[in-house]
Every structure is written in structure tokens, then in C-alpha cells.
Amino acid sequence: MEPVQSLGGGTVAAAGQAFTRESLIEASNVEKSYGATRVLRGVDFQVRSGEIHALLGGNGAGKSTLVRIVTGLTPRDAGEIRFSSAKTNSIHPIIAVVHQELALLPELSVAENIGIVHARSGFSRSSHRRMRDVALNALDLIDPAIGREIVDLPARKLSLHEGQIVEIARALSTGAEVLLLDEPTANLTAGETAKLFSVLKRLVHDEGIGIVFVSHRMKEIRELCHVCTILRDGITVVNATPVALLSDAEIVQQMGQPAHDVAGRLKSKKEVRQGSPVEFLGPDDARMEIWPGTILGLAGAPAGPTGLINPLVGAGRGAGWHVSGEGFKGSFSSPSQAARAGVGFISGDRTMKGILSQLPIVDNVLAARRVREGRQIVGAAERQECLDLVSALKLKAVSIWDLPASLSGGNQQKLIVARWLGLPLRLVVLEEPTRGVDIGTKHDIYALIRHMADAGAIIVWWSTENIELLELCDAIFAFDTDGRPKGFLSEERFTEDGLAELTGMAA
């Protein structure tokens, strides 16, 4: 089903569309601030029935905040949201979200997972046959064959794709008219993705529901979506425009940040080579030779970079990657082993894997130093050391004895970066070190990372923001959407288009 665009009013109709396209959700001028940070500064967003709508935007553009507001999880500061339901006098929620992490109850059967939301109260009698009927009806809308097969299985036995089908069925069974899918393909294989897409297309076509699709993968957006809305810095920059009218480059450009002048400035002088190179050897005979002082960017679907990063930092099983070079052998079996070999690691999961939440800022900042240098005693000199790091990073803390929770997200991120500054590291692995950080702070962090590289460390940097990688990295290694190594981005294609093409992802 190819999206066909009509000329009047920007509406898009699919050929043979059986439903009139009425507006299901209309949000206008939505604003939201967290403290002094204005996350949404007047966003317009509209979902119509019978339409698959791509919601795009870089990190921090306000996508997730908008989704939270539209689904009622977060109150808005200003603006208007109108819901209009095709089924009059309905009181059910018309929008349902299918999250990337599935919200199924693993020990309950599929029938119960779907039927449980229909119980009128916690005390109503649970009739298994009724639940099963409700579940089968909902699954039939999607795929009758799958329905019979899985309805009695416990949810933990489902594949990811089947789990998503169940979640969609649950949403549909409540009468939701808008489905919101947040990066639904992130963990799916290519085959499962294709199946999911055919389900979504049929739902839109036959049932006339509206779908909001959040994804970073350009190819999927092209294949699936009729229109797209792009947010940037809390403003709608592209509003419900047919995808066919926009080129990949235009989409990327609309999502990206305007500041391009830093490109090149942060690049290292390539001819300066110190020490001896380290080799990364991976599956499919992938091989990288990296010299100290190099910033190596990793791009592509999460499975690829994590498969390389995990063995580098000793954090778990990798995807067949190992390292060889002076002082590096194979892969590390534990983080402390990696630490002894001079590897630093900034995890992408700041709250769970970065911050030591109950320890004051001073202990958090000094944590890595104390491990590396085998310090025994908490010294008075450490305080000055900590203050120096705090001011070097312009980290806004009232007292270094406060808990990290007193800091904003961006400052917590700086805190984690501060841990590794000035340490004699051979390899620094970074996962999205600028996630949730404003532009000024981003550039502070870029400079610090370049500084670490100039001090002779190899930097391995995974980011989902391609533009960031292009600005800062000396070389970029790409993985495809299934996480398989694709190869280096060539010098002449060192652009957003080139990278999007190589990874199959838009941002």
C-alpha cells in the first residue's frame, strides 16, 4: 500500500481507503517546562484515522515529553489537546502506547494478559472463557492464525514479535483508536519487522485506526509512514507533512541541530600517531586498527555497538569481538580486569549503571580514581581534587557533600565524565555521553573527550546522534539494523547521508 498524497490541505489518503480521515487527536501549542528547562515550546501535533504518522526528532527534541502529555502521564503547562472519538459517548482511553520494553505479565497467559484489563473491578469474578474470547477477538483483528497458537501460552514464552502483537491486541481490545509505537522495531529481526509492518498496515486500512510511529530508521519511515511530524528543540518544525515530499537529507536536516561550525575543529591531526595501535577483531572478519589518540565512533542499531562495547569493558557477553594489542588480550571477563588494563567506561544508563545514588558528589567523582590508583585512605587532598574537577567541568553543585540527586540530569552526566578526567587511560568507552544534556554542556563534554584523546587514549564512542559522531570522530564504524558490522564510513561519504545510508537509520 503506497501512500498517495492529495494536493488539498496536506491530507494523505491511501489507495482504496475505506475510512474517512477524521482527526483523532489534535494538540496545539503545547508547552512544558521542567524547572528552567523549556522542553516543549509550542508543539502542534495531529493524528488522523487511517494514517501512520511518524514522530521524529533528535534526542532532547521533546518527543517523549509530547507522548507523555498526549497519553496523560504528564500534565501540560499550556496549550490544548482535543480528542475526538469515532465512537460517540465512549469513555475508554482512545490512545494506547506500545512501549519498547513490553509491559506484559510474564507468568500469566496471553488470554489473561489481554482480558485482565476488562475486569470491572478487582473483585469481579474471573471467567477464563470470557477472557479467552475477548483475547481471541482482539488477536483475530491482527492475525487469526497467531491468535489460536499463542492464546494459552504464558507471556514469557512469546517471542518479542508475538509479545508486541499481544500488546497491540490488548490496546485494540480496549477500543483504542490511536496506537502509539515507541521504537517498536528496536529489538526485532528483519523478518519480524516485516510481519509487524504488514499487521500495522492492515490495521490502518481495515480498522481505520491511527498509528503514531516513533523510530530512527529512515528506511522504515519511508516504507511504513504516510506523514511525519518533526520536533526540534521543543518546536514542531515539520507538521504532518507527507513523507514522500521530503528527501532523507531534508528530514535529517530538520531533525539536526543547526550548529555545524564545530565540524573539523575538534578533529585531531591525523598524522600524529603515538604508541602502537590496538586491533578490534569482530564477527564476519570485521577488523579495525585503532591508534592511540583516535576517537572512534560507533553507529547503528544498539545490538551492534553493545556487542563490541561489552567485551571491551568486561560488562558481559559480546558478539564475538575481541581486542588485541599491547597490554590488551582477548576480551575482559570483568570490569575490574578492564579497569586494571586502563579502560574507562561511561555507561549509557546513567541512573542504574553510573551514579552511586547514596554517596555524596565527592565520592562519586573520586570513585574511578580510587579504584585505579588503589587508594586506601579518604584523604583531605581529595577534596581539592574534586573541587578542581567540578570547576573544570562547570558542574553546578551547591556542595560536593550533597547527594547526586540534587543535580540536574546534565550535571549528573558531567559528574560521570569527571570521574575519568586526568586519569592515565588507554581506552575510554562512552555510551551516549551527551544524552539529555543541553547544547552548551554537550560542547563542554566534546572538548573533554577530545582532551582525553589528545592525552593518548583511544576513545570508543557510541552515539545514536549521527551528527555528533560526524562532528567529533576521527573514524566511524557502522553496524546495520541487525547489529552486524558494516564497515568504516569512507572519507568521501563522511556526511549524514552517507552514515544514514550505511546504517539504514535516520538519526
Binding site: 570490569p335 578492564a338 553510573g354 547514596q358 570513585a367 567540578v390 556542595s399 557533600w401
Partner: protein
Amino acid sequence: MTDVTNGNAAAKKIRTTTTRAPGLLLSYRTEAAIAAAIVALMLAVGMFVPAALSMGNMQNIIQAAAPLIIMSLGVFLVVLTGGIDLSVGSVFSLTGMVTALAMANGADGVTASIAGLAVGLVFGSLNGFLVTVVRLAPFVVTLITYAVAGSLAFIVTNGRSMPIGAPDFWLLNSGELIPSVPNHLLFCIILMVVLEYVLRKVVLGRWFYAVGSSAVAARLLGIPVLRIKLAAYVISGLLASFAGLLTVSYILNAEATAGSSLMLQAIAAVVIGGASLFGGTGSAIGAVLGALMITCIQNGVNLIGVNSFWQGSVTGAAILLAVLIDRFSNKNRL
């Protein structure tokens, strides 16, 4: 350091980052509050029964509190790392039985003490091994060792209580290593000071807090998370045994049920002392004060002449009060 943020907001707050460590009273405010509550409790009891404030009663309280204080310190270390130790009461009882049995069989004081401490070492190591290497849940592991050690305490003497003669070993005779300072008070003070110093001023101590804050983050930093957890359980077992030794040396009699009420009291002491059962918070001083608080409540209930069956209810109320104060005074904690 001046703070300049983006764009339009002209009114800037100028903030400075301070390095000055908070004063003792501020960094120990939870502990100060418990200490104040203990004093208030004692004074309140003293209004009804003046003898409560006598030197003799103070000595009673210290004597009664010492084993609980020592156990609570061990349990606190485990709780600090995010675990729990339910086995301490049983280890306490079994230690007394083993020590008494050894002496009854002609062992000297030193050998008998070592045999007693070995109980704590064995069960502490077993707890630590099952939690860190086999990766079982701490609650389940220590529930098992609680049951096993508790039944062994009956098995070793077939349920009979064992008197012990006055031993010749300094650890077991409740004498005074330092003149006019009772041994048990001395041990409590030494343990508390050493632990508190290590936890605050030695990097290893900070790792206990780090592990309790986020074991994953700590592991990724290269902190030896498993070894720290193992150490916590071993120390907890040893301290429970040590408390058992002190008690038999004072009562000169070992009973299989001696420690049965102590496990819950030790956990209560740790909670009253400001530690979170999720790990990462609290102090050794807090645990000691929590144990003291519980003993003072029991002492007060006895002195006022209330039926001692009320002790549990009063202790429960104290725990509730302590966690409520903690809940509403620490807005910073998530």
C-alpha cells in the same frame, strides 16, 4: 565559580561549590536525633522511676545492650551492601553452645573461644558464598542458615543448657582490661569507632556504600562488589559469634534459645539507626544507637512496671517513628 546558563534569564543565581565538609552535627543529624530521643526516653522513665537514672541502671543497660550492639554492627554492614542477615540470632545461640561444650570437654578458654568464633566464621562464609558465588537471594540464604544454625544449637547438647565454669581467658571472663571500664563496654566502643572510621575515612568503607547504592554501577567502576558483599556476611557472622561469647561469659550458662529474639532486634536497631533496607545508607554509630534505643525501651518498660509483653509494641512504635522521621526529613533521597 559563577554559573551562567543559556539565553534569556537575566537574573542569575551565583552559586559557589563548597568543599567544606558539613559539621559533625549536620553529618550525624540522624544519629544526634536518636541520641536525643534516647535521652528524652530515659528522662521520661526517670520521672516515674527515679532509679532509672541511677549509675547502677546505666550499667545494667550497657550490659544488656552490648551483645545487641555488636550484632547490630554486623547486620548493619550487610544491610549497607543491600543484603540482609537473618542468621545472626541462631549463630549467637550456637556459638554459646559450642563454647560451653568445648569447655565441658576440657578445652581451655582460648580454644573454646576459637571454637565459638569458628561458628560465626563458618556460617558467615556460607552466607557470603551462597549470596555472591551461587547468587541466591540474601533473604533465602540467611533464612536457611538461620534454621540450620538454630537447630544445631539444640542438637549439640540435645537441647540441654550448659553451664560453663569461670574461664581463665580474658575474652571470656567478664573482667576489666582497662580498670573501671567493663570489657563489654570497651568492645562496643572499639568496634563502633573502628567501623565508623573505616566506613568514612577508608576507601574500602566507601565501597560498602557504593555497593549498596548501585551494585551495577559499582561493578562497572571496577569495585570488587562480590568480595565486599562476602566480607560483610563474614564480619556479620563473626560479630554475632563474638556477641554470643560475651553473653555466655557473663551469664556463665549457654542456652539454645539465647539468641532467638535477637535477630529481629538487630534488624530493628539497624533500621532505627537510619539505615535503609535497600542499602547504601546509615552509619555504624546509628546502628549502635538503635540497639541502645531498643534496650532502653525494654529497660523502661520493665522499670515502670508495665507488663513486659508490651515491649514489642513499644519497640514497633519506635521503629515506625524512626522511619517516619527519616521519610520526611530526607527529601533529597529518591
